[in-house]
Symmetry: C2
Subunit: 313 residues, 2 copies
């Protein structure tokens, strides 16, 4: 949109940290960009950037303005989406940030189910830890965030929140499989693989061991669940994952056992959006579908997400 060009340029300068770099990014000359910024500052009535040796940086007024700019752009997109919807096009784009656990099974199935009904809608999925996901919401980079154990709940609207137990992940020949009612302390007796501290499941594990005499002594700390899945097949190690990230019924190499709530608090899988924001039609509908599916999941006796559950809208 043309009338937002200056605002986009300001955003670019902010990101680049210097007018000349931003000019390159936006494919115009630095002089043109510089004068647009000077012109905008004049009609705005106050400087937006502070000039320092080696570049520019937003001043407090600029911070206020950039927030307005991002909100404005997002809101215009919402309007365009609504207009496209009422003209019957059913087009749109959904941008969602989610935890790693949702990447292998849940999100692909959900997106496929949604696109089966609305083929004009495209998606962008960012796998982010909970802190980064919230940052993405704040910067209007993501429309939705679906993460375990969100950090700053106050700044967002919570669309839904469901509990998921933590599962231990092992190879099929692991000794612990024979044990009934597996406890966390049993797992810690074996080599274990855990995610880094910024991941929700690690947060829950740290919380759990802080109440125990045993300590967490991971042989490997990896932010890739794929790594964990494969590593536990190499030696008799134990990994951890939420059931939504596991193929509970059909995995032919791994076994999964839930840990009791008294050992490890259940994780809160939370669907959030920026506080007060009105989402585009596509995003709002997709959020509704997610909420419905997750609600069914929570209501079912078996926490396994079956295929037919996922296909519901």
């Amino acid at each position: 949109m043309k009338h937002l060009q200056t605002l986009k340029l300001i955003d670019a300068v902010n990101k680049a940290g210097s007018i000349r770099k931003a000019a390159e990014d936006m494919h115009i000359t630095s002089s043109a960009l510089n004068r647009r910024i000077l012109g905008f500052e004049e009609e705005f009535g106050a400087p937006i950037f502070e000039r320092l040796h080696g570049g520019v940086r937003l001043n407090p007024a600029g911070e206020l303005l950039i927030e307005h700019i991002r909100g404005q752009m997002a809101d215009l997109e919402r309007v365009r989406s609504q207009v496209a919807d009422l003209s019957g096009l059913r087009r749109g784009h959904v941008s969602i940030a989610c935890s790693q656990a949702l990447q292998p099974y849940f999100m692909p199935a959900q997106i496929a189910a949604y696109r089966a009904e609305h083929p004009g809608v495209s998606f962008s999925v960012q796998v982010r830890d909970r802190e980064a996901a919230e940052e993405g919401l704040r910067a209007f980079q993501s429309d939705l965030a679906l993460v375990f154990e969100p950090v700053h709940l106050g700044d967002f609207d919570v669309l839904l929140s469901v509990e998921q137990p933590v599962f231990a992940v092992m190879a099929k020949d692991h000794p612990l499989i024979k044990k009934r009612d597996l406890r966390l302390r049993d797992c810690l007796g074996f080599p274990h693989v855990v995610p880094p501290k910024r991941i929700g499941i690690r947060f829950l594990l740290d919380l759990a061991v802080s109440r125990m005499s045993q300590k967490l002594e991971p042989i490997a700390e990896a932010d890739s669940f794929e790594f964990m899945r494969h590593y536990v097949q190499q030696e008799q190690a134990v990994g951890f994952q939420f059931p939504i990230g596991l193929n509970l019924a059909g995995d032919d190499r791994l076994e999964f056992r839930p840990l009791p709530k008294s050992d490890v608090t259940y994780g809160n899988l939370t669907l959030m959006q920026m506080k007060g924001r009105t989402l585009s039609v596509a995003s709002a509908r997709f959020a509704n579908q997610l909420a419905a599916t997750l609600n069914d999941l929570a209501g079912a006796p078996d926490p396994l997400p079956r295929q037919q559950d996922l296909k519901r809208s």
Copy 2:
């Protein structure tokens, strides 16, 4: 602001109902305006106006857009106000719609008190009935609305709500003055003056008589409380008003008597803003002052707004 020029023009066309008229209003030629609109529609991806014989009118997409435009303009003003505030200027503008009852004493005192501390802030006060006041909020014409008995509460954020009894207003020589514990049926025995249906106090009176055998038979229906005040001095008639619109202690021509809550429900004086909107610094502070004053009023045993109460910030 230059980058909003096209949006302002669209707004003008919407108001004028024709491109040529709007062009005159905005002091440009119709051809230029016409092409800007066509250009905008093209980059927007959909027509905004429907062309009909004798002018143009917004189509549904345009309605969505105009709402976005008004929101953006108001939000930009908020940003500028905040920026002005943090650069120490303490400038700003407050636009408030209020019921007629607040016009003679309450609002002037409140505004004077606020301006005593912030001389850089200017005000615009629109006296509106409750329906029109809400419409003003929706169109971003007013920042705040302070009205009795709001109609559509769901669409707005309520900042504060206090109750006020309905008072009967009479001349000093009226027979009813001698009566202790004045009831509504006593008043209806005399000629009475009431406001039209869209005014909050009339709403309460209609509600009250619907539970009684007597009917409302006004000798005069007037939307001016001034008219009522003067008329009750002409013949032995009775008028009605909220105490906040009366000089309870010091009026030398009129007498006021409260009607019991069991007869006429107390009116809800409600301070509202558009849902989810962030107000400018000046508006938010003025709203705080109003809320504080009204809270004190409600807490005090005497519902009379004294001068020193009004002067508080």
